[in-house]
């Protein structure tokens, strides 16, 4: 008997050596079993790389599943709420999937790599659900997280950086499009996707070529302000873009113990992703019923007066005494780029219609002492940050 040696420590992405070189803070946390940096040298500066030049974030830990087989399209169409028939090869879809009761399990992106061949990416691990969903379909679901190294390259100069690297076809690459490019003797996939709400791309490559890619990228970006960034910077950017994070703004239904804590897509502002006109999909019956009878919760984006961040605050209705507690904040931040006090929250219907005023009970600490303010807030229906460059094709060079 020879002992089976296993590494019981956190996994490291193939980019780890480069990240470690740049890291001066040593704040690593766990992301789906991998070490992921919270920040590398200064989270404020890293954030501005996203909004001002180019921030590079290692998304290798994102779980990736390859979906192939004759029924791949039918399988995905039953899995997610949007109509996948409309997603042609070379396109990417942001999608959400639900359990039988129409409660959100997770969101993610589905890449239509080639005809009939898909990759699904999500922050959390879902192999069990994806396998269960495959009962009755001629489809193969393969977990391939470790087989692909991936980087998010995000910010206004990202287009120029990649062009500098010699990547063709960027000029016509629209948001949610993908192209393949031969480099280092392998295939690099470039998709115009991201989690920052800004101009940006994601690069996908064989892990053996990860370091080559990193080095080429940073060489190409040297004059364009390229910076490696950590999770904190990204998290701030996603809040400005109004993107949701699982376990913060909603709970994955499969792992939620208490009844009533989960949310449907209609309750988290994702109705636009639900296509009742296509054939059956998971949760369809429940969601149709909910649509007819009305939802219990509504996700709100709040513009809050003042500058005190409203983390974990209660939300109250705008009545005489502000006495009706109607919900709570799930994500909050001071937006450096909008100079706004922003938050995402969940409130009971019928509260929280766009334009409604609500009150937020903010507790904040200054030099040990706690203070409390009731801040007025307005429900907005557009992302806080939505720059024109995000959708421009071709993007402007910088």
């Amino acid at each position: 008997m020879t002992p089976v040696s296993i590494n019981t420590g956190r996994l490291r992405s193939p980019f780890y050596p480069r990240l470690a070189e740049l890291d001066s803070l040593n704040t690593w946390h766990n992301w789906a079993g991998y070490s992921s940096a919270e920040a590398l040298y200064c989270e404020d500066m890293e954030y501005f790389a996203i909004r001002n030049s180019t921030g590079v974030f290692d998304i290798t830990p994102m779980t990736k599943y390859r979906i192939t087989g004759p029924d791949a399209l039918d399988y995905l169409n039953r899995l997610v709420t949007r109509d996948m028939r409309k997603i042609k090869p070379g396109r990417v879809a942001y999608a959400i999937w639900c359990d039988d009761q129409g409660q959100v399990i997770d969101d993610g992106t589905i890449f239509h790599l080639r005809e009939g061949e898909y990759r699904l990416c999500s922050q959390e691990r879902h192999l069990a659900w994806l396998t269960t969903a495959a009962i009755g379909f001629d489809v193969t679901v393969k977990e391939e997280t470790a087989e692909i190294a991936a980087l998010a390259v995000q910010g206004p100069t990202s287009y120029s950086v990649l062009k500098n690297m010699g990547i063709d076809g960027l000029d016509s690459l629209k948001p949610f499009g993908l192209i393949h490019h031969q480099i280092f003797g392998t295939e690099l996939m470039v998709s115009r996707t991201g989690f920052t709400g800004d101009l940006g791309y994601e690069l996908w490559i064989d892990p053996d070529k990860a370091i080559d890619l990193w080095d080429a990228l940073f060489a190409a970006g040297k004059l364009h302000g390229i910076q490696a960034i950590g999770t904190h910077a990204l998290d701030l950017a996603r809040k400005e873009a109004g993107y949701l994070a699982p376990f913060e703004d909603f709970l994955p239904a499969e792992t939620t113990v208490r009844t009533g804590r989960t949310r449907s897509p209609l309750e988290i502002g994702m109705e636009w992703l639900v296509d009742f006109n296509k054939d059956n999909f998971n949760g369809r019956r429940a969601l149709l019923k909910e649509k007819a009878e009305g939802s219990t919760w509504r996700l709100v984006k709040l513009d809050i007066e003042g500058n005190k961040t409203a983390d974990h605050s209660y939300i109250y209705a705008d009545d005489k005494k502000n006495s009706d507690e109607i919900g709570f904040i799930t994500s909050a931040a001071w937006s450096p780029v909008c100079k706004q006090n922003i938050a995402l929250g969940t409130v009971r219907t019928p509260h929280g219609k766009p334009g409604d005023n609500v009150w937020v009970e903010v507790y904040y600490q200054r030099e040990m002492h706690w203070n409390r303010v009731m801040a007025k807030a307005t429900v907005v229906d557009k992302p806080f940050w939505f720059p024109a460059r995000r959708g421009m094709t071709p993007p402007a060079p910088f």
């Binding site: 359990d99 039988d100 269960t132 009755g136 379909f137 059956n280 998971n282 949760g283 019956r285």
Partner: protein
């Protein structure tokens, strides 16, 4: 042929026939589609050797719901009725029980048996009330569901404190401990153990076997009879009744799929491409076959599919048919004994040991048997002077480690014969020909997934509120217009017609809405 039917029933098993007849009687235009060339599903008479016929699957009637007989004006011609059960003893000191009487045991066992029988019939009567109506949903605010639940509570309480407590204690319990508490005779305990585990993947020590026993007693308190002409005559009578009510039955019509548009069933398509339209499609097929093959996972939800896939429905009962040139000798048997129900189950531990093998995908080397010689009271089943033996043999697990290859079948047959020989020393000389139907064969012949008689184990986790699966116990499947009416739905197996009748009630109520 009509362009559009009010309802299409897939499968002419007894529940499908009952359901179709009741729908037709209510004025519906009903079409029944049967894959095989005769109606009856698994309840048919089968000629297994030239001139020798038996009931192919179940060979005794004991659960037929009187209400079904009445509703369908069934006139079932019985070859024999009120059969006794004889548990064979190697030395000829058999134990015989019928109703609340038992012979061949000591006085205390006799007294206790009467008491046991009284209590069990009482509990099974209570159970039977609920077998004959669709189960309520739980956790909803629907008034009707709440009322049915309240009635259930009331009915329990009405039995009196002592009996209610006893019911709540026994309902999840195993038969082994209960028998051990009450009786001394190993043969009596063996026989009752077998009664509790027949057709299941359970041994007498498995909790839940009181429930299976009560289920057996429900309806007719376990009174046994055999129909003249075999089980096929029962389903023949049902199909006659259905036809008389206007039901159209097409045989050799194998359904390929249920046609579904936007979550609603609109008809069915046959293997040959023929399409029949209807707003109501009722499936007598088992839940797995219905949902995974005929409907397809893509048309239903993921967890629902998972639950259907997880239904435990792998059969353990094989059927042995023997053509006999004369009746075999059984020590201590009188002529009339041969026409009774005969069990080989010498004691409760023997039955449990037989079950052990099934857990590991092996057939029992010392199987338990339920034997009848139906030709004694029904000369139509065998040439004059000759006889047939029909036996249910356990355990013969569907998923046998050897996949039931020829060798495994031969070995199992040899094992059965050596057990038979202990009680019928001349059986081999009497045997003209024989056949064995394993659950695998039953699956092939009757299109029952897993070859399970009850279309799914009858255990509390697959019973009533959660049969066939959680959330779909009210016959309506999560597709508009699609219903189940087979044994896979509440209340479960046995030739009772209850599932078909309950399903028809639900369908007709929907129409009123």
């Amino acid at each position: 042929m009509i362009d559009k039917y009010d309802a299409i029933v897939i499968g002419a098993g007894h529940n499908g026939l009952v359901c179709s007849a009741l729908l037709a009687k209510a004025g519906k235009n009903v079409l029944v589609l049967e894959a095989n060339d005769q109606v009856g599903g698994a309840a048919i008479t089968r000629e297994f050797a030239d001139g020798y016929s038996v009931s192919a699957c179940a060979h005794l009637l004991y659960k037929m719901q009187p209400q079904v007989e009445k509703d369908l004006n069934l006139n079932i011609n019985l070859a024999s009725d009120n059969l006794s059960t004889i548990v064979l003893s190697e030395v000829g000191e058999h134990v015989t029980y019928c109703g609340n009487k038992v012979t061949g045991v000591n006085e205390s066992d006799q007294k206790n048996f009467a008491e046991f029988f009284k209590r069990m019939t009482r509990f099974s009567d209570l159970l039977n009330t609920y077998l004959n109506k669709p189960p309520p949903r739980l956790g909803t605010k629907n008034k009707k569901d709440l009322f049915t639940l309240a009635m259930l509570g009331f009915d329990l309480r009405r039995m009196g404190k002592v009996e209610m407590r006893e019911f709540l204690r026994l309902i999840g319990m195993n038969i082994y401990d209960e028998l051990d508490e009450r009786f001394e005779s190993p043969l009596l305990k063996g026989g009752l153990s077998l009664d509790s585990v027949l057709g299941t993947h359970l041994g007498p020590r498995s909790p839940n076997t009181i429930l299976t026993y009560l289920f057996r007693m429900a309806g007719k308190h376990g009174t046994l009879s055999t129909p003249k002409g075999g089980m096929g005559s029962v389903t023949k009578a049902m199909s006659d009744s259905a036809k008389a009510a206007g039901v159209e039955i097409i045989t050799n019509a194998k359904v390929k799929k249920v046609i579904i548009e936007k979550g609603t069933a609109t008809g069915v398509e046959l293997n040959d491409g023929t399409i029949y339209n209807s707003e109501i499609v009722v499936s007598n097929a088992d839940p797995k076959k219905t949902m995974l093959e005929l409907v397809g996972a893509r048309n239903v939800e993921t967890r629902f599919t998972h639950r259907i896939d997880n239904i435990r429905m792998k059969g353990n009962a094989a059927k042995l048919h023997i053509a006999l040139n004369k009746l075999p000798t059984i020590k201590g048997f009188s002529e009339s004994d041969y026409s009774q129900r005969i069990l080989i189950a010498p004691d409760e531990n023997y039955v449990e040991r037989a079950f052990n093998s099934a857990k590991y995908g092996e057939s029992s080397p010392l199987p338990v048997l339920e034997i009848t010689f139906p030709s004694i009271k029904d000369s139509s089943l065998a040439p004059s002077g000759c006889h047939v033996m029909s036996a249910v043999v356990q355990y013969a697990p569907y998923q046998q480690k050897s996949d039931w290859n020829e060798e495994a079948r031969t070995n199992f047959k040899n094992d059965i014969f050596s057990v038979l020989k202990q009680h019928m020393p001349d059986i081999e000389n009497c045997c003209l020909s024989s056949e064995i139907l394993t659950p695998l064969d039953l699956e092939k012949e009757f299109h029952i997934t897993g070859g399970h008689w009850h279309h799914g184990e009858l255990t509390l986790d697959q019973f009533m509120f959660v049969r066939p699966v959680a959330g779909s116990a009210q016959y309506q499947m999560p597709i508009d217009g699609l219903y189940l009416c087979g044994a896979g739905s509440h209340p479960g197996g046995g030739i009772s017609g209850a599932s078909g009748r309950n399903a028809a009630q639900v369908i007709l109520k929907r129409e009123k809405r």
